[in-house]
Symmetry: C2
């Protein structure tokens, strides 16, 4: 009789856990950076997504920033109050709201771009630029993979 096989994978080889741990180790310096403007991870993601894709509706932001719509509603309200974003009704479909990054929002992004670039350089230097690219490729492919039944 041999031993039974382990019930589940080692947690290092569990993809959800490995993704979380890896993310935590990368996020630490970034959270420190963002804390200096009183902005959190979620708001930063929203800002990045909308700056990248241009004026867009909320459902699309929620999807791209990995946030639920009710969470996003609140986040956008405070970000609008802080002057980082503006919202306007869609002219063609009045159920929709179009969100745009304001000048102040762009300024906040710029304010962090230098330091963010430094963090990326450090990452590339210590982890290796080729490995970083490989990892990003794999993550994009994973994201595109359909796991539904």
């Amino acid at each position: 009789m041999t031993d039974k096989p382990p019930i589940l994978r080692r947690t290092e080889r569990s993809l959800p856990i490995a993704l979380l741990r890896a993310r935590e180790s990368v996020m630490e310096p970034i959270r420190d950076m963002l804390a200096t403007s009183g902005i959190n991870e979620q708001k930063w993601r929203v800002l990045r997504v909308v700056q990248e894709q241009g004026p867009m509706e909320q459902t699309a932001i929620a999807q791209a920033a990995c946030l639920l719509l009710p969470s996003l509603t609140r986040i956008l309200r405070t970000m609008e109050e802080e002057g980082l974003l503006s919202r306007a009704p869609d002219l063609h479909d009045r159920r929709k709201t179009i969100v745009t990054v304001t000048e102040a929002g762009l300024a906040l992004i710029s304010a962090h771009s230098a330091q963010s670039g430094q963090l990326l350089s450090r990452l590339e230097q210590r982890f290796g630029p080729e490995r970083l690219n490989q990892l990003l490729d794999l993550l994009e492919e994973l994201r595109r993979t359909d796991f539904s039944e």
Copy 2:
């Protein structure tokens, strides 16, 4: 005059965002699975970690499961009430508490192991077993990389 370079990377090539998006796409079916036992992601991680490493102290659990100690305190209290874990003072250092998975905890893990295995098979099938291994290798290396100054 050429255009200015983009301020920041495309979000698909931002490591924190890519890690989060990839994780979300993998977690969806797992969350559905766990919901059937009324357990959440965090409790599942704690269970997996302690089952894997054996009886261990809370600071180590917090680190391995990516949770803060105050969050873990509450989680462990409810898991102990649910009978999934037991806690006992460390005999050699009475500041410490040693956490152990109970029979009921092991049973809960077993109850999900078949379905969890199916999800993993599907992942390997659709994403490719070699790519999965490559990705896990890179994530482990990333986790081991030191990004402090």
